[in-house]
Structure formats: C-alpha cells, structure tokens
Symmetry: C2
Subunit: 328 residues, 2 copies
C-alpha cells in the first residue's frame, strides 16, 4: 500500500513493543523500522519481518519514514532524543515529566520549526487524554473544580523507588484512589482534598533472605515525596507470587469536573480509563497522534504541538464527511 | 473591556437563557444583544441591562457582534436560520437532527465560506462532547465497540409525543439506561444489545378529567419509533406532583468504548455526564465554542466546522503556554 503512513520506532521497551502491536490495528500505517541502541540482532521484535536498525544509522531513513515515535523515557532519553530527531523527522513522544514540559516543548519547537517538521509531545493518557479532559472540563464548566485520580494501577516510578531500598530484591507499587474521595467528587461536593485523602499506596515486596523486614517497611513508609504523604501498606511476598500475581501493568483513573451553571445547578463530567495494560494503551494513543502529526505536517503546521493543538478529526482514518455522518 | 468577544443570542428559550447565564461565567465575553421574533418588550431576559432587539433588525448588528449563538430548534428554526445568519456572522448552533447533519453542514458551509465567516454546527453534549468521545474512543482503541447510553434524563421529544395524545393534559418522559447493559459494556464484554436492552422509558402523565387512562397508556406504549421498541412504564399523576417533582430538566449519559490491544488485553474508556440541567449545560458548551469560532475566524479558518475540526486549545481563555503549564 503506497499510501500508508510509514512509522519508525525509536527504543524497543514496553512502549516500543506496544507501538508495534498498535500499528497492526491501523491499516493506514506501516512499520518501516525499529531503531535501537542495542545490537539489532538482540532486539526481539514480535514480527520477524520488521527491520531492526542501529540508532546510529537513523539519518539514512530521513526520507523513508513519515513519523518517528520516540519510545524512550522522560528522565534521560527524551530530553536528548526529542530535539535531536525533531530536526530530521516528524515525531511523537510521551514525555511525562510535568514540571519540565514547558522547557522540553521549547527545545523541540526550536528544532522542528526551521526544519519544517511537526512534533507532538507529551502524548498518552496522562499527559494526553487526561489533559484533554481537564481542559474540556474547564471550558464546559468554567466555575468548578477538576480532580484527577490515578489507579488502581502499577506505578513504575514508585516501584523503582522500592527496589532501590537495601534488602529489597523485587517489588511493585499500586496507586489506589480513595473510594470515599471519588464519591464526594462525583457528588459535586467540590471538596478540598489533601494528598493523603485522594490516594493510598500498596506495596508488594520480595525481600532478600535474612533482610530486616521492619526496617524495609519503615524506609518505604517514610520515604519523602514517594510515600510519606500517603497511607501506605507494605506486604512481603515470595518471588513466585510476585511473578504470578503482579507481572501485568494495569492502570487507569478518573478526571472529574464538578461545576455549577445558572443559579446553582450542579453538573458533573467524568472521564475514566480501566486499562489492563498501561503501556499498550499509551502506545495505541501514540499511534493515533502519529496520524495527526503526518497530516498536520502536510498542511504546513510545523513545530512542537501538544494534544491541545490537534483538531480531533486529524486523529481518525475516516474522512471529515464520514465522521460527521457516523460519529457526530 | 474592549477586548471582550461580543456575543449575540438568537432566540430566547431555555438555551438562550442558558447562554445568557454562561456568558457571565466567561469574563472574556460580553452579551451585546438578544434577538427575538417576539415583541422585544415581552422577552423577559434575566439581566435588565441586556438589549433585546427584533430579529428584523439583526443586519444592523453585523459589525457589533463577533459570534452569534443560534438558540432555536433543529426541526424548523435552524435549517432556515443557520444558512441565513452564516452569511453575516460567525455562528454557533446545537443542530441535533443526526440524520440531516451532512445536508445542514453543506448549506451552512456554502453560506459562510464565501463571506469569510466561521460557523460551528451541532455543538452541545450530543451531538458535541459525546461525539468527540465516540471519536476519541475509536482512535485510541481501533478494535472495539462504542456504546452511547442516555439518561437518566428528561427527553423533550418524547415528552412532546406524549402531550400530543388525546386526553393528555401534560406529561414528561424519562429515558433510563438499563443498568445491566451498562455493566456488561463496562466489563468490556462488547455485547450485542437491542434497543430494548439498552434503555427503558418512564412516563409521568397528567390526564384530562374523565379521560380513558387505559387507552392513553396503550397509545403511549405502542407508539412507533418513540415507545414501541422499549419497555415503557406509564404513571398517572396530578398536575401538582408534575409541577413539584418534574419541572427540572436533568439529563446525562455515558459513552463507553471497550476494546482490545496487543494479544488480548482489555481496555475500557468511559465518559459520563450527570447534569441537573440539560439546557444550561448545553448552553455552557455553546459559549466555549463561540470562543473557538471567533479565534478560528481570525486565523482565516472559514466555512462550516464541527467539534471534530476544533483544536481543543481554541476553547480555553488560557494561552497555549498556560495550558501546557497548568493542564497538560
């Protein structure tokens, strides 16, 4: 199919793998190559026909790829890769360090614009679809409050934090919204909620043999930023139980806007996700935004963009007339 | 405030009244005039300072108004008013006859484009925010099914249908989603659901004195299109109970997309509204889209548009940089 959008993947972890799967669900797209820092022979892509290429050769693919999906992490990969590849390709990424988004946006914009490329940053579900719903809640109900709850879901950052503690062999952490808080928000009470009142944290930890469990539990519960502001429970389990019961990456959450119109009329908007796999869902969203980047670039909309800049119609393979007829 | 967006309202029913209220919640907007077919002296606007003008004088306001919000009905008002006023003004409307949207879009587009005006049609929550969520569900989960449930809410069209029956003095109808069906959809079972399995209809009827209640009940329950495909209950009540318990216009509903990613991973997206006042919420959404029409027109995006064509950032009074910092 000569008219397919040609996608490249940079980095083949959970997200890269998810993008490979998601492209198969979108017949207007094709996966041209996976780029990796690793030895290409050692990157186990799902479809053996997919080309795996050393990242050092990526520049040769400048004209063979319409959109490059950057699947690296926000801590070290994307701050470097985003601006670098935005000079050469239209790009999509899931940059999610909220505090550094303005700076990252600026760097990518500077790289993309003079090269007539289009880069949509911070795509996924949060930032991404949740961000959209925070915006749509505000505009529909200007007088009100927005609440974001995450979970129940496995938090990668908090799981990593647990694993850095001495005596911990392995472990995972689940973020859990407090049901009572969610209910109050759904009832449009617009409550003031502390961090502790919104979420609890539940840890499943495999300790090294002979480790001091009480110390580990205490170190987790008192860890600043990550756990000390939350009610945290720590469960010690075996490696076997961890593997059997905690190897998937479910997640989800809610964006709820409660507001008032007219004299004193209560209105509530709720958006929620219930995901069996966080990385697969994020990947699926990235692929849809790749379609938008491709089209916006064709129309001369250059530079860095976010989900706020993308007219929803660009995301769908359907024509504008089909969308009006079928979905409006 | 010289930089406010100047709004005009055409038609002062429930929606017109809601738009007047909503404008007060948006400090970047001001209401310039309400246009009515009625004698202006008899149109009871909420704010006595608001100018009420006969619709016959609207052309004189061509340069005094940035966006005209058309608050008439889809059956007879909008098919006429939409194309007529799109020649002179940027417009917003809540045209909601799904089957006639393509034709209406074409007529408005033909009127607006050569006159360099921007008209966003079919705005509100369905069509509108629900349409957006049907689209966003499809693009995030290309393999899956989308379900729209309405209610519990008062349906204007079905209430009107009841009131046309002989012997009926007054009455209202509520559309109610079937809880079991909603649950199956939430569980990503992707069930096949008949019309009857998705919604029930509940009627509260005030009969004329001496009317044959059994006949009325039978006429309602067997009415084609409106009731015969549903499980319908009919309750006869007094005028006083109708006034006391059924005078507000609550509504809402759900758009749920269940789909699969990767091998066989279940993912569920749900968007829901719980509205104490359907018309006030619709009005609030209309006003936000007026802001978008104003901005898109300034940028030269002329012609008819729908919610699918509007980048979300246009809807917010915040700058793109503020949105990235605060909401992304």
């Amino acid at each position: 199919m000569g008219n397919q959008i040609r996608i490249g993947i940079v980095g083949y972890g959970n997200i890269g793998r998810g993008v490979e799967s998601a492209i198969k669900q979108n017949p207007d797209m094709t996966l041209t190559a996976v780029f990796s820092r690793r030895d290409p022979a050692g990157v186990g892509v799902q479809d053996p026909n997919v080309k795996v290429v050393s990242i050092s050769e990526i520049e040769q693919y400048k004209d063979a790829i319409d959109v490059l999906i950057l699947c690296g992490g926000s801590a070290t990969d994307l701050p470097e890769q985003g601006p670098t590849y935005a000079r050469l390709f239209n790009t999509i990424d899931s940059f999610d360090t909220h505090a550094r988004i303005p700076e990252y946006f600026g760097n990518v914009d500077e790289a993309a614009k003079p090269n007539q490329k289009t880069s949509i940053i911070a795509v996924g579900w949060d930032p991404g679809l949740f961000s959209l719903n925070r915006l749509m809640g505000e505009i529909a109900l200007p007088e009100g409050s927005t609440y974001t709850f995450w979970g129940k879901g496995l938090s990668q950052g908090h799981s990593d934090a647990i694993r850095r503690i001495e005596g911990v062999k392995a472990g995972v952490q689940y973020t859990i919204p407090v049901e009572e808080a969610v209910q109050r928000v759904r009832n449009a009470e617009n409550p003031e909620l502390t961090t502790r009142e919104k979420h609890t944290r539940e840890c499943f930890v495999v300790a090294e043999e002979g480790a001091d469990l009480a110390r580990i539990e205490n170190e987790i519960k008192t860890m600043p930023n990550y756990f000390s502001d939350y009610d945290t429970t720590v469960n010690f389990i075996s490696e076997e139980v961890l593997r059997k019961e905690h190897s998937t990456m479910p997640h989800g959450g809610f964006v709820i806007r409660g507001g008032k119109t007219g004299e004193n009329t209560k209105q509530v908007i709720e958006y929620s996700l219930k995901l069996e796999s966080n990385p697969e869902f994020t990947s699926s969203v990235l692929v849809a935004y790749a379609r938008a980047a491709y089209r916006m670039n064709k129309e001369g909309q250059y530079g860095a963009k976010t989900v706020f800049d993308v007219a929803p119609g660009y995301l769908s393979p359907k024509s504008a007339a089909e969308l009006r007829k079928e979905l409006l």
